[in-house]
């Protein structure tokens, strides 16, 4: 049995090596997803603010000085009229307008609300720079941020990108391999050698596991070298989580291959299923932003358990014990999918 498995893994390896595009994909994916895409992230909000002061009050200089002192304000422009400033906002040249009152009252902030995340950033950092909320926080309550060391947004989304990488490789690789063997009738030949459905699946999953672990190492290395991401928790816990993730996502890929039967149909199905899983996985919109019904879909979404566990291990310092529930759910999803796949393969 072990000898057969060994030959099956060797066959998978040779199939990959003989397909240069797949080798290129495996090499390019970590570079693109954990190296290049995160370059689009930074922790500076980069807000451009317009200050409207028709009366040229002495307060203007004070306001501008406060805004200039903030690392999150990228540029400040002075306007004579609100209309002129709003025209600049219409043209996406500024994100916030501070309108000074002629009677010396509290200024009014006009924020570009067309992009809500950006609007929230603009309101938060403009108010913070104008009113010095750090001092105020100290008077009301002491605010402590846990796990926020280093570059917050970049680290958070870097972990997301690593999981995205594992999901693409873990799902695509077995899916393309199985569908190619089905289309070229190699699957039938293999089955006629006495290779059972279980053994065939085990060979595929083991090879997929090895590849995903190599991709994980590559992703972590690139993230470390290019963006300074370090693992706050136990790295073995992350590898354990990734192994459990492969069981579910790899089986999902095989299920898509068995359902699609041809490469074209598989790609259609993959696009449809994968986009939904990614968008509902809390990778980009947190669980706290979803209504309870939508949030409940996470229980059957392997990407959620992987990304949630990875955030915990990489950013919060979680150990193996903390991610055991995640591993359990991933294995359970994988087990259910395996049963479907074994049945599907026996019918082939």
């Amino acid at each position: 049995m072990i000898r057969k498995l060994h030959w099956l893994i060797r066959k998978e390896f040779l199939q990959i090596v003989r397909t240069p595009v797949l080798v290129a994909m495996l090499a390019l994916c970590p570079v693109a997803l954990t190296g290049i895409v995160p370059l689009g992230l930074s922790d500076d909000a980069g807000i451009r603010v317009g200050v409207v002061d028709p009366s040229h009050s002495p307060r203007q200089a004070d306001i501008v000085e406060r805004l200039e002192a903030s690392e999150h304000i990228a540029a400040i422009e002075i306007f004579q009229t609100v209309q002129a400033a709003e025209n600049r906002m219409d043209a996406n040249q500024i994100e916030a307008i501070v309108i000074l009152q002629p009677d010396g009252g509290e200024p009014v902030l006009a924020i570009d609300g067309a992009h809500t995340v950006q609007a929230f950033d603009a309101a938060y950092f403009t108010v913070q720079s104008l009113y010095g909320s750090d001092e105020l926080e100290g008077m009301v309550a002491s605010v402590h941020r846990l796990y926020a060391g280093g570059k917050g947004s970049t680290r958070y989304y870097l972990v997301t990108m690593i999981v995205f990488l594992l999901a693409i490789v873990g799902c695509c690789l077995p899916m393309l391999s199985v569908v190619w063997e089905m289309e070229s009738r190699r699957l039938g030949h293999l089955r006629s050698t006495g290779t059972g459905a279980g053994l065939y699946l085990s060979g595929k999953m083991l090879f997929c596991l090895l590849t995903v672990l190599v991709e994980l190492v590559a992703g972590l290395l690139i993230a470390r070298l290019m963006h300074g991401l370090t693992c706050a928790g136990q790295p073995p816990a992350l590898f354990l989580l990734a192994a459990c993730f492969v069981v579910s996502i790899g089986n999902l890929g095989i299920l898509l291959a068995l359902a699609g039967k041809t490469q074209i149909r598989c790609i259609y199905l993959f696009v449809f299923v994968f986009i939904i899983l990614v968008l509902l996985s809390t990778m980009f919109a947190p669980l706290d932003n979803m209504s309870p019904a939508w949030a409940a879909t996470r229980f059957v979404n392997p990407l959620f358990w992987m990304v949630d566990g990875s955030w915990k291990v990489l950013l919060k310092g979680a150990g193996t014990a903390d991610i055991l529930p995640h591993c359990g759910v991933l294995l359970a999803i994988g087990l259910v999918l395996t049963v479907f796949n074994v049945r599907g393969l026996r019918r082939q």
């Binding site: 980069g46 219409d90 043209a91 009014v108 309101a123 009113y131 009301v140 605010v143 796990y147 926020a148």
Partner: protein
């Protein structure tokens, strides 16, 4: 000219039959955009709906109960449990979905512990919790703190509706998937099955063939544009600017995506190669760097320069401009020209690819 139209319409008829014959492609062409726009429009948002908080209170003090009541009374805050001491704070955030711990000491001082791993959520937590705690401290201990509260007016989206953020991005994804990826896969299917070579043996030129293949997808794009408009009204996000300009934008973006898909299909023969190109070089950059997930202003200048050339970025900029800011052609000239330029460049690449790689 009449002969050209006749030949193109024959290819169009063939393509329509192809689409309706394959149930899966037919379903996906209409199901994907509907699902993404309507259902995910409800599911996704960038506004916090429920923020889980745990409390750490001094034992046996009624003041702690009043703090819990005060926190639970807020619509977005949920007190999900209590912890015994500050030593349990990190574990509370590790084990479940706890985002913040409010610690009340014996001397009445309050400490807020926020999960800073997600900067956006910790900022939300601070904004949600600080005013409640300030009110509580003022009521309980008579320490009134002047909270700086400037008047904030959100232009174009006064109530900061979550759909304003997700809708343009979901439209971007839907158009990109159908007009680019599915068209590219369909053309590739013709290439791999040899139909394309057979068609090239007829009097059809590359241009006629490409136009014939693309026109049914353009009709599908018109349907999707109507769907986007319908979803805008369904979510209460009506188009503020010119409706004609908005429809023109959706169709121009769809044309640009189709040209990109055709160019990819022209130069790459195997489905696997095409899948990798479509995902790695077209879909993911447009999803991640277009300003849908991360605002453009937060990007490094070098990456931002690249991002500004993406069709997705131009589409989002013009979508927000026309639909939310009611701006016209002049203000949106740059993104519209970018899309038109992208369409021309990709079309030329596609035509060269088809002519060279599939000769008569």
């Amino acid at each position: 000219m009449a002969g050209m139209i006749q030949r193109i319409s024959a290819v169009v008829r063939k393509e329509v039959r192809h689409i309706f014959r394959d149930r899966i492609s037919c379903l996906l062409l209409f199901l994907i955009p509907a699902f993404i726009l309507i259902l995910l429009g409800y599911a996704l948002g960038f506004e916090v709906l429920h923020y889980n908080v745990k409390v750490c209170l001094p034992p046996g003090e009624a003041v702690g109960e009043r703090l819990v009541e005060r926190l639970d009374g807020q619509p977005k805050l949920h007190v999900v449990g209590r912890i015994d001491g500050p030593g349990d704070i990190a574990q509370a955030m590790l084990r479940d979905n706890t985002r913040a711990v409010v610690e009340l000491s014996d001397d009445g001082s309050v400490d807020l512990w926020l999960d800073g791993s997600s900067p956006l959520l910790s900022m939300n937590g601070e904004v949600l919790l600080l005013p409640v705690v300030a009110d509580f401290v003022a009521d309980e201990y008579g320490i009134s703190v002047e909270m700086a509260a400037p008047k904030i007016r959100y232009c174009y989206n006064p109530s900061l509706k979550r759909e304003y953020s997700s809708l343009p991005g979901l439209a971007l994804v839907a158009f990109m998937l159908v007009s680019c990826v599915l068209l590219a896969v369909s053309v590739n299917k013709e290439k791999t099955s040899g139909t394309f070579k057979l068609l090239r043996l007829t009097r059809l030129s590359s241009l006629e063939l490409v136009m014939g293949k693309s026109l049914p997808y353009l009709l599908v794009a018109v349907l999707h544009t109507a769907m986007v408009l319908g979803v805008c009204y369904l979510f209460g996000v009506p188009v503020q600017g010119s409706l004609l300009l908005f429809i023109g934008l959706c169709l121009l973006y769809s044309l640009c995506c189709m040209a990109l898909g055709l160019a990819a299909a022209a130069w790459f023969d195997r489905p696997l190669d095409l899948l990798i190109v479509c995902w790695l070089f077209i879909f993911i950059p447009n999803l991640m760097l277009s300003g849908f997930v991360f605002p453009l202003v937060t990007m490094e200048p070098s990456v931002r320069t690249v991002a500004e050339f993406l069709p997705g970025t131009a589409f989002l900029e013009a979508f927000r401009g026309i639909a939310y800011k009611a701006t016209g052609m002049a203000e949106n000239a740059r993104p519209l020209l970018m899309l038109a330029g992208g369409f021309v460049v990709a079309s030329v690449l596609a035509l060269i690819g088809f002519t060279r790689r599939i000769p008569r």
